[in-house]
Amino acid sequence: MMELWDILIAPFQLGAMVKAFWVSALVGLVCSALSCYMTLKGWALMGDAVSHAVVPGVVLAYALGLPYAVGAFVFGVGSVAAIGFIKDNTRIKEDTVIGLVFTGFFAFGLVLVSKIKSTVDLSHILFGNVLGISDGDILQTIIIGIITLTALAILRKDLILFCFDATHAKSIGLNTTFLHYVLLTLMSLTAVAGLQTVGIILVVAMLVTPGATAYLLSDRFDHMMLIAMASGVFSSVMGTYLSYHIDGSTGGCIVVLQTLLFVLAMIFAPKHGMLAQGRKTKFGA
């Protein structure tokens, strides 16, 4: 009995693991909060684009000795500006533009990683490395978390209105261009935070899945936000814990858990789940 207990609590007695729990919980919290806006605004593809487009920025920032976040921010917002510019000035449709811009940026990042001799490990960027996270990176994640949560708390109602009805937002004199760029900026910043934990490839899951799960479970924005954050933090902590025991990819475990929670919600959600919908159709309610 004692032996089993020792095995279960073992991860909580390792310094690196304890750090990893805290960081992934924070990243889960911040990304989940933002994910509500991403899913409601329909920006999943944009999130995917920005998270990939930050790679060259991250590499350059490393080479120049700047914080990760600075390079990521410049390239994240730059990619969005490039998408907007190409869409407005050519006849190419938006999804095509997004596809070509983010792969272009990402490819440029790959070339930079292979040519710039630095401590940047490509696999850490692609798949995350929360167990080996440095204190500097932790500090950066905390700062990003504070900025994002503060901005979301202050602009909560304005951002909800912007996502729901941008025309009305404009007609009462709100600066919708500003709100648009606030969301994009927060997305770039959280992509960097997520990069540490789950890596570039999976960060879009952190920015979409908790919001989507919560959306199936509530018709109130505030409830949706709480559910998203709870599911995000739970997946992050449990995923990190599981990855220790099965000695598997941390990012992979976190996102698999998130996806499982989504599938559960999709089937069993009391009102919008498949079973409830099925009952509705059957009884013609």
Partner: protein
């Protein structure tokens, strides 16, 4: 006193002119009907007034002020034709109406006693108070229109711009909204409303604007709403011939 002053406004989308050289002055405390075919430039005129499209020439003043100042003072409420909103969005009817009050609140948009009272009152006026906690997607077409109309009421704007508020609504809702518009006029509000319900126009509009890519005629309803003018308004479409023939009958009957 002139409330809405539109001067030589021309709007083009991708080089194609949608509205040519429109000029119009609307008096305070009046209801003005905007009549024209689909694609005649009605929505474009609304968007030009709201500053959502930039005219290639001309200007719009409301109470002698450019629109961006007017918006900040909550002087104008705009109810677009088809709300480009996500009906599955997790907000309730009450939340939507409260959005009409945001312009009066501080940065955090925390509603005060007065905001809550006005939301309640506005919902009561459109007979939607019992549905205040419904998610907006659970409403019928007419109820959705009423909810957005209640938001415009809660905004307490001096000027109301209503783009096709009667499209797809039941007779009861249309009657309710017309009664509310008459109350608003009584209280000194200025209303510009586009509609295809030509019968209703003669019952509540003081003035009429006839539009077909440019303003064909505007003025007192009795003077402007003539078969000749309507025929010019609807001239370029053969489809309109049948309803137009009936309409001539109605207008002549009314006269």
């Amino acid at each position: 006193m002139t409330c809405i002053d539109i001067e030589n406004v021309t709007v083009a989308y991708h080089g194609k002119v949608a509205l040519h050289n429109a000029s119009l002055q609307l008096k305070s405390g009046s209801i003005c009907g905007l009549v024209g075919m689909n694609g005649a430039g009605k929505s474009t005129l609304f968007k030009a007034i709201m500053g959502f499209v930039k005219p290639i020439q001309g200007r719009v003043l409301i109470n002698s002020l450019p629109i961006r100042y007017v918006q900040k003072q909550n002087l104008v409420a705009y109810v677009p034709q088809s709300e480009e909103v996500d009906w599955q969005f997790p907000v309730s009817v009450g939340d939507v109406v409260m959005m009409g009050r945001y312009g009066y609140m501080n940065l955090l948009r925390i509603p005060g006693e007065r905001d809550r009272a006005l939301v309640r009152q506005s919902l009561e006026r459109v007979e939607m108070l019992p549905l205040r906690d419904r998610q907006i997607g659970e409403l019928s077409g007419g109820q959705k229109k009423r909810a957005f109309f209640a938001r415009a009421l809660a905004q307490q704007a001096q000027v109301l711009l209503l783009d096709e508020p009667f499209a797809g609504v039941d007779v009861k809702t249309e009657k309710l909204m017309i009664d509310l518009l008459l109350e608003l006029r009584q209280a000194g509000h200025t209303i510009l409303i586009s509609t295809h319900d030509l019968d209703a126009i003669t019952t509540f509009c003081d003035q009429v604007v006839l539009i077909n890519r440019s303003i064909l005629a505007y003025g007192e309803t009795s003077e402007v709403f003539t078969p000749e003018n309507l025929s010019r308004t609807f001239s370029s479409s053969a489809q309109e011939t049948a309803p137009l023939a009936q309409l001539f009958g109605q207008v002549q009957d009314a006269a």
